[in-house]
């Protein structure tokens, strides 16, 4: 068993992975990615792009599909690891609060403490799906080669740009329905989201990635990181009272 520290921040490291972890790159060059990893990555990105388009994943069909994609991707990741002959476990300190939160929920559920046990079960199931996405994102993107990273930045940039453009055109055209066919309560939708706050939450996550990608291309990641942090901090303060816009769990917020 070996342990290799790769970077203080995964996102920054990923943009500059060639510089930060040359040993890792040489390993990747020598050893092609198992097909299962590639398929899992495609599924993961498809789910993360599809969830906002499916009204932010608030409708039952959407979050069920997300949960199943998460499960399938987990199996693919495990299969890929077996094919590769080694398990590369990427440790993130964020696992600690997430796992604590999940364990707290499970303890409450098993201890019959919640006021509404079955609502708690549903929330736990969705939290489980969200945690799976987080785990998969960390593992599948950390082990991705430089070509995948080169594609990731433009993909996020293109997605954020087109979604923003679509949302603006939809509101400017005065369409009262999402995609011109889905009515929303209160008619306050923005883009594919019933709640405009949630759309803002999604952009809050996508914009820093896009900024890091653009600035990282010019090898000025420290400035990029600062700008990104400033954006996140500003928007997060603004959004603090408005709820979460995470594409994987707004079902809990909206329902």
């Amino acid at each position: 068993m070996t342990s290799v520290r790769i970077a203080p921040n995964l996102a920054v490291a990923s943009v500059e992975s060639i510089d930060v972890a040359p040993r890792r790159q040489s390993e990747l060059a020598a050893e092609p990615d198992p097909l299962a990893f590639s398929v899992a990555r495609v599924l993961l990105v498809a789910a993360l792009i599809g969830a906002p388009l499916a009204f932010g994943g608030v409708i039952t069909g959407a979050w069920v599909a997300l949960g199943i994609v998460a499960s399938l991707s987990l199996i693919l990741w495990a299969t890929g690891s077996v094919w590769q002959g080694r398990l590369e476990f990427v440790w993130s300190p964020l696992y600690i609060p997430l796992a604590t939160f999940l364990l707290l929920g499970l303890a409450q559920y098993w201890g019959r403490l919640p006021l509404d046990r079955f609502e708690t079960r549903q929330a736990l199931v969705l939290l489980g799906a969200d945690l799976s996405f987080f785990f998969l994102a960390v593992h599948l993107l950390a082990s991705a080669d430089s070509r995948t990273w080169r594609l990731f930045g433009p993909t996020v940039l293109l997605f954020a740009g087109s979604l923003g453009l679509f949302a603006i055109l939809q509101i400017v055209s005065g369409t009262a329905q999402i995609y011109g066919m889905v009515d929303t309560p209160g008619d306050v939708h923005f883009g594919p989201y019933v709640n405009p706050d949630h759309f803002a939450g999604l952009m809050e996550m996508l914009i820093p990635v896009a900024i890091l990608y653009i600035v990282g291309r010019h090898r000025r990641s420290s400035v990029a990181a600062l700008v990104s942090l400033a954006v996140i901090a500003t928007v997060a303060l603004d959004r603090a009272a408005c709820g979460d816009g995470h594409c994987g769990c707004p079902a809990r917020v909206e329902r």
Binding site: P8, V64, S71, A78, V82, G85, R117, Q122
Partner: protein, 434 residues
């Protein structure tokens, strides 16, 4: 050290050999399948559309309140009685879900089981004492059972929690109580003055203007504060209905309560409000209102006044030959009396032969011929313009306006600037009667 713990690290474990890879694959596979199965079951349980699907799932877990609740919703249109049974079972299995109790109350209401609906509503109130809608349900439920005091208490609480329920509350209460009693029992003490004014407007909109004016008397006597915008619909309705005397009293009350700022210097006998343009017009009640302002600019706080600090300035910025009613004001008057209107005006480069002038007409019907002052054209210094008129036998208010008729002699298009100040309207023969 702490920073090192915050780093992202990679740990590698060899999976060569079946003894390692198989347990790993089985463990991850089991977790994934468990997650997929749970998501599937929870998803189906909260979205199935056919009772048969629900029955099938109930066979797996008959004690799942979500399933019972969904089944109750599915049966709602097919079999209301079965819907009530399922929803009741859901509330038994999960006594703290407001969603289940709320749907049970609605379902019971649908089948006409008022006792069940009332019990569900009472339970909802215990669960969620801060949700206004449940207070509304409880208040209406008590009203049906003739438990009037409890109903009034619930309506009072409802209006404190969320005044947007006021119209529904008054409509429900109006079927049982008379307006004065509703005001005394529900609104007089605990509810803010804005809601009380809303009740006056509600009564007026329903056509009960006598009761509305009576209640207005109570509201105006209270020390509570409210905004002009909350009274404005009522005031405008009174003016449009020709209830000028009541409107004038409301306007006086608003000035007394300092909601409308009266003139700093009391001008005895001048009936025009804000005739010196010393404050911004409210476009409401008996203050100045603005007409369409195409191709011109109005400044109600222009310097260089004839009297005081401000005057009205009109700039005809683009040449046109339109008829304009630049500003107007409704003024309460007496019938069969003679009035005299006087104002000071000045002009600069007014091009048309048809310049601005003052006009007085009957606000309700044509009780007398319109009175029109001389026009002002070209460039002039401050000078007085005046007119006099006699009101008709049914005249209660007049419409005083700054008016520009269409020009009929070349040059017809009007450009230039015009100033108006110190507008006064006095009754000539009222003093004799006094």
């Amino acid at each position: 050290m702490i920073l090192r713990q915050l780093d992202v690290a990679r740990i590698e474990v060899s999976l060569r050999g079946r003894s390692r890879s198989l347990p790993f694959l089985l463990a991850v596979g089991a977790v994934s399948l468990f997650l997929a199965a749970q998501v599937w079951v929870v998803g189906i349980a909260s979205s199935f559309e056919r009772p048969s699907t629900g029955r099938l799932l109930l066979a797996l877990d008959s004690n799942d309140p979500q399933l019972q609740h969904r089944l109750g919703q599915v049966y709602k249109d097919i079999d209301p009685a079965e819907s009530v049974r399922c929803l009741r079972r859901a509330t038994e299995l999960s006594r703290y879900s407001r969603l289940y109790w709320s749907d049970l109350a609605s379902a019971c209401q649908l089948v006409g089981d008022t006792q069940c609906a009332d019990q569900a509503t009472e339970h909802l109130l215990k669960l969620c004492p801060m949700v206004p809608y449940y207070h509304q349900l409880a208040a209406e439920s008590y009203l049906r059972k003739n438990r009037l005091d409890e109903s009034l208490a619930q309506f009072r609480r409802l209006l404190v929690l969320d005044p947007t329920y006021a119209t529904d509350a008054w409509a429900a209460l109006g079927s049982v109580f008379d307006p004065d009693l509703i005001f005394q029992k529900v609104l007089a003490t605990s509810v803010d003055s804005g809601v009380q004014v809303g009740y006056v407007d509600f009564l007026s909109a329903e056509g009960d203007n006598d009761a509305a004016y009576r209640i207005w008397g109570f509201v105006a006597a209270n020390p509570g504060r409210f905004s002009l915008s909350s009274v404005q619909p009522y005031l405008e309705r009174l003016i449009s209905l020709g209830r000028i005397e009541e409107a004038a009293h409301v306007w006086q009350d608003l000035q007394r309560l300092a909601i409308v700022k009266g003139p700093d210097v009391e001008e005895k006998d001048n009936l025009v409000f804000n005739g010196d343009f010393e404050q911004a017009p409210l476009s409401a009640g008996f203050d100045w209102r603005t007409g369409p302002t195409n191709y011109l600019a109005l400044d109600f706080a222009a310097p260089g006044a004839y009297h005081g600090a401000h005057c009205l300035r009109v700039d005809f910025t683009v040449g046109s030959n339109n008829e304009y009613e630049l500003v107007n004001q409704i003024v309460p008057v007496h019938s069969n009396r003679t009035y005299s209107l006087k104002a000071y005006v000045r002009s600069q480069d007014i091009t048309s032969t048809s310049g601005p002038c003052l006009r007085v007409s009957d606000a309700q019907q044509r009780g007398f011929e319109d009175a029109i002052s001389e026009t002002t054209v070209g460039t002039t210094e401050w000078h007085p313009v005046s007119l006099s008129f006699s009101t008709g036998p049914e005249t209660e208010s007049v419409r005083l306006s700054l008016w520009r008729p269409r020009g009929r002699i070349f040059p017809m298009e009007i450009t230039g600037s015009f100033w108006l100040d110190a507008v006064t309207l006095e009754c000539k023969d009222c003093a004799v009667e006094k």
